[in-house]
Symmetry: C2
Subunit: 122 residues, 2 copies
């Protein structure tokens, strides 16, 4: 049980996604991989951390679905999974369009009722 005593819920895909993107090293690896596939050591090169740490970041990225990899010989080659980011993108753009619509309605209301005062959040 967790601290709340409630049953643990399995993490949703969006949780894993945003969690994966929340670390600058992981974002950096994704940025690198958008330029093309790379081996683990190539991905590790820009970072001061151990290879082990990089592999652990890679595992997070794979669990989130952002990255896939396959091993050939002794080299593991990683690539981004193109469709993966669209889930996060959709959530964000849904919020954006929602509040744009809301601001439009508010603007329309204010235009229709110019006598009303500002400062009202409702």
């Amino acid at each position: 049980m967790n601290p709340a005593g409630r049953p643990i819920a399995p993490p949703e895909p969006l949780d894993l996604m945003f969690q994966a993107l929340a670390d600058p090293a992981r974002r950096g690896m994704v940025e690198r991989l958008t330029l093309g596939p790379a081996s683990v050591s190539e991905l590790a090169a820009p970072y001061a951390m151990s290879l082990s740490a990089v592999v652990q970041h890679l595992q997070v990225l794979e669990a989130s679905g952002l990255v896939a990899s396959q091993k050939v010989g002794r080299v593991r080659t990683c690539q981004i999974r193109p469709g993966a980011l669209s889930l996060a993108e959709q959530w964000i753009s849904a919020r954006r369009t929602e509040w744009e619509r809301r601001l439009d309605r508010l603007g329309q209301y204010l235009a229709d009722h110019p006598e009303d005062e500002e400062g009202d959040l409702r």
Copy 2:
């Protein structure tokens, strides 16, 4: 010092942003706030956690820049900051367009060289 013994870097805005979005309760609060401003207790209502926990989530959301709030009397009213999500949106769409460009180049190459075999990641 951190476990690596290296100096700590201050978290980047995108770190705070994605970290804030990585929790389902916080995303839920953002979703609620896209429909319009709400008080702390209104935001807390759907959740089984304590009010204190909700306030702590709200602090994370404020630190990320996603949410703003002001107190009037004994009620704190929260609203989303419309522009905030665009930072995350831009990062994601930058990656998307980058790998789309890359896939286009790859497709063009394959079209120009139909004799080549598949399975090459380079």
